[in-house]
Symmetry: D4
């Protein structure tokens, strides 16, 4: 690259305080009750590192880094070496220990093994926002005995997150079995007419059982956050 | 309307032999083993009446009239007064008595009451193509005990047609419970993000249980025809 | 219509016990904690009347009739003359008095006046499932002072249902202001590239603030049901 | 990666018994009559290897591994070195010998050479589920004499699987020529307005000849499974 | 309606010369070789009448009125009582006699009876633009013998227009049989996943046989115009 | 309708002050410089009448009523008998006289006669927001001489609104000829693959000439408002 | 890969005569008047090499290889070293010399420089099918003087192929200027709401000037083939 | 590659004058008031280098190169070493100094950090077309205080460009707060149901506040160009 005119082009500005490219909302935990998360996709590793360096001064606020590719994770870990990192889920958390659990139980059910990374993102999010969690895997409707075998656990939950790709049929089935709300988490697992998760997304939006709250495709963070809010101990 | 130049415009030609607007395939029963059906949508009542008049000379071949609006039905019944007419299913059959049943049992399951007209179209088609049929209604996955209560019947079937709108989850569940193939029949029941049946169609194409054969939205005739072929007694 | 062969076609069967076209789940209130609703769209008035006649023997269970066109409403009121009927929302409830309210407060916010019928469907559903409700109207983001003027009420809610068409921007804004979860209810209000509610649906699924639970387009019943579950007093 | 807190993050758990990430349904062959298949896409090679290690103790049940990328195939072959592997079809089978053939003949027709990998996946699936198979290639409708030259073979089949991309016209043509049902297998062969297989998928769903059972785009496994069920010898 | 301020609102201006709402291109026949057509959809009957009154002074130029609903047709016939009117095709032509035919033969093939109105629109357009035409009906691929029975006629054509809905498979088959180009005319005949003609449109765009020229759904006028240009006698 | 419980259902509340269903933003003219418009679609005539009654006390603020069906227009005219009403454009304005014109010239070009109602909505909006306007009609690109004949007028404009359906090609052509920005207004004129205005919308979004500002399909009000803002201040 | 059971898996069969994976239609030139082309995408290089080896014995028939990636081109050139290869267009031709030109002139117009590879594919195809060709580049509508500067050439053509991406506006403009038919060739040039060529495809299907024949996105081969047929000297 | 027949294939022609592959419109600055930009995507680096070499003789006209991948940038810098290059925005400008600023202020607001590259493309374009610019970042609606904190700056602007992905809600909010027009710039930031920027695009087209001008997804160049045109002349 040639030397830019300093008055015109500064595409990769150095880390400064305040950051010129991000307006961190560190008071959000106080205002909304939940801390902000840093969405890494689309940010440069340098930008993510800058943000990580900034939050280091605030160990009182848990920061989650979501959709972190390996280069993003390396940038975070360079600044916050003890951060928790779940590579499959693309998630980092710092400080690395979740707060003491309060509120109701959050159960996460993954229809297939391939849905696990997104389900884990949901579980870790809910846990770092202060909830107890349980995860059950490979309980899709093609073998109905699998989900029915977990009915007791499902009925103990204050909210159940159900991650499923392909036909997205599991949330309807679970919602029909329990009194608690279901957070339906469509995944991009599948091919062809799954259209990148469109098929399970539409299924879930049209669930024939009421009580199904849908989030974006592969949005494990959003599902976990929503579940944590629903399972919070007392009216907010 | 003004008087058209006879050499140029004849939009509604009179009934003649052969018909100028249709090439009836009355030998199809001999060639393919199944008679032709007359798709009424898009035809004028006069055209349908002309076809009905033509088939009257062939009581040896059962003719089905599908997607018949009331004006089409009236046109058929004007020529074939004893034709069977199921108004909800938009279907007429003549001669009005199905042939003696052969082959395996065809079970039709309708997820909701609103799916019944399409399910009936499938059932009547299979019956007039020579199969025994059973229809069960309102067995959607929101109350799983309903479909599980019919497991014995489902397992006796050579093929099961499953009609469902909204989330289209029922075929996956049924296919996971039985050895026979499932004909998945998406319906336009629903609203909003059901997008006229797109949602259940995609669900069914992405069924997580194998053994699911999908047909067009609201295509009860096609589902019944396919089921009749699958349940035929001997290799064709 | 001609006289059908009684062994073949019975498209409009008489009301019987049990109903041949519906498998009412009157025990659902006991099993799931919430009663079943009757989705009227796609059912004939005669079928709806048959269902209404059946539930009359169970005044201990509240039954909601949703998506009721005038002919459906007349059918219900013929059997249950004292049923509550909100014509704009297409909803009937019987018995017509909601149960005593328990749990947290449900606030419903409608972005525009045109979103009111769907917002009312959500409010009435939540009320008949046992929650206190408050409805605020015409608080879209084009005049931000309108929603900000209700901040105290929004922060007292255990859950906020936000109905919006067009750009569907209001749920993101509300979710960013409060700790409670938001149920985002896209409506078909709009035209052109709103594509029947697709635009607000996608906006809501992509809300940049977490804590947004999306339901189907115009699904006021589902939004109200979900809100009632979230605001229930104790873990279910 | 940093060392995770053992109580929080275990994204790649070791292989254990039972597997924490999969609930194998090895009794499915007994229950449904057909064994389970392992969908490799979205699973890590380690997970696939764990599953392969588990099924090694059950040579009485044939296991198929579908959508296996080279790294998945290597993982399977590391545990089951004698597994059959068709790299083009992305399929592995173990034990590597199909069962003795029963039931009717399954014919697979591929419209073009580019459709062959998916057609092979269908053929191998049907063969490993116990059917005789024949495969014919490059018989698209642009040269009608090609498919017409195989009419005798097509009419001997109990079911014909037709794989086609682009215009997806071949299933309609074949269905119009034979009495047996057609399993229409759309492929992603094509470009531009083929939209990844959407064009042939829609064609097949709208086949003007009845008797066409559609499966998902590129779903050779599903097509072969369905064909095997249809061609099974006796009512299941 | 109230009395508008004459300086502000004139929604339905009276017929004047020149017309304030249309800029007729009566010299187009000289410039392009083909006359202009008046697209009636979206115009008020008064506007169509105004245009008809204007063209009356130019009997040397043939004017076609397309997509004419009954009220449009009445407006035209009020001004041009001897205009030819094909109500099914929604077409009027004035003067009502086509010019002497030149150039090659245009054959129009309609896959089904329901495709006839659009096929007639194509035929009449080509005829009024100066070509000889032949129309064959109900020759869809479900009964391949029907189209094959017309092979001699098809091979005499300079261009063949093929109208088809549903799977849109006929143009591929025809193009594979002849040397002349095929104008593929998708129709909105069908339902469900035909999506208003999208399915045959995509099929035709992906025709596996080259030599297929696609026009808009139900655009019989455009197909006939294009065919007339292709079959013109000499390089233009 | 039965008598509703007054504590539960008030679907059609009487007109009160303040209105329970609308939060009029009559100060918006002061705050934003432009008055609010009332979007009538989806509102009941009674609600529209209530709003009209309320604005009657504020003749200092011009109120536009957009997307007014005949019943909405009657409701407005019942309260504001001297309101200007353009039925084709679905627009009413009160007081009925536009303010004195300031700023630059707004030219509106309609590609076809069928685009005129939407183009008129844009023109009237811009005029009532205080701009001079000129409207030219039937200048689509199929006869390029028509738009080129207006080049002088186009180049005098501070902004040009271009309304077009079908291929939506006119905005690209106009933008390539002038220095001023173009507001591209796609219309739903067309059929088939126009998909209700999607085709021209996409064309305009992909205009190969820069300087094209796109608004929603058929959004004449939005186009006129945007043009008024762009042309505010001083002639360019 | 492990050693397959020879009776089960032969995914990459050796080159044999006849080829097991392709049914070459070398008589097509005699039957249809135009030779077959080999679509390379989706074929393995070994398969393409096998086909190239086969056609070597038939230098009397020109064979085109389309959509040839570098590995396909290498495979062809290994068997047919003197084949003509245009890498940008992904096209090979053998024998490498086009036949003597007959028929009318084919003009190809590319809207932008980025459309040139596809335009070249069209030009070479038309030339190898026996037509004279002229190519003009960078004549998009953003600078209308560019296309108008070529009006003489355009009017000498028997058919004009117009390749354009983005707004796809050029075919409408060209069709409005000439008497000859236009083959509209949408390209995937663009981004965002061009949706891979969908935007220009829809524009072209909705061209407001008649006489526009649309082919698939990026289908230079199809456009060139169609143009060659249209410009053929005499009825075929 | 083999040696092509010089009369047939010249896919990569050498740089000549005039260029055979591009028709540069260097007089456009005089005609339209703004210089032409070179869209690099889809051009070969050699073509881009050829264009860069040509413009070197015209330092009186500023040339922008947009959507420049690293290889395009290297090609430009090889010919114009002192060109300004903003790698993140994919933009080069030569001569590298913007003209003196005239007209009104252009403010660019980026909803998130990930939207910055596109926002920078808009800012640099507006600056090189002669406007003063200010850029504010990370002001999305999830934390409303962030955008409200910049209200003074926003109200000083003649036009505001708002770049946002995901829900695309920010333009509606900004447009509701100011009198100036808003250029809404949807970005592809997001995942799942953002569908590559479709979600914010639809939101912006349906903005509930008028005064929103939408451009293509990720079209920073177009947004900046449009803003420069709107802000031309005098401060509003």
């Amino acid at each position: 690259m040639n030397k830019p005119d300093p008055h015109v082009a500064e595409p990769n500005p150095p880390v400064t305080d305040p950051l010129p490219y991000a307006d961190l909302d560190l008071e959000r935990a106080a205002r909304r009750g939940y801390p902000e998360a840093v969405f890494c996709a689309g940010k440069t590793p340098a930008q993510v590192a800058g943000i990580a360096a900034t939050v280091r001064s605030r160990p009182d606020v848990i920061t989650l880094f979501t959709r972190a590719a390996p280069e993003h994770a390396a940038a975070v870990l360079g600044e916050l070496p003890d951060a928790l990192h779940d590579a499959g889920a693309g998630l980092l958390a710092w400080p690395p220990v979740p707060p003491p659990a309060t509120g109701g139980l959050v159960v996460i059910a993954a229809a297939g093994t391939s849905d696990l990374p997104v389900a884990r993102e949901a579980e870790l999010t809910a846990r770092f926002l202060g909830r107890r969690t349980e995860l059950i895997a490979d309980v899709g409707v093609a073998g109905l005995h699998r989900i029915l075998g977990h009915l007791d656990l499902l009925r103990r939950a204050r909210v159940v997150v159900v991650a499923a790709g392909m036909d997205g049929a599991l949330p309807s089935v679970v919602a029909g079995l329990i009194a608690a709300p279901v957070v339906a988490l469509p995944t991009s697992v599948g091919y062809g007419a799954a259209f990148g998760g469109l098929a399970p997304l539409l299924s879930m939006l049209n669930a024939c059982a009421p009580g199904v709250a849908v989030v974006n495709i592969d949005n494990g963070y959003g599902a976990g956050h929503l579940a944590a809010q629903i399972a919070a101990g007392a009216p907010a």
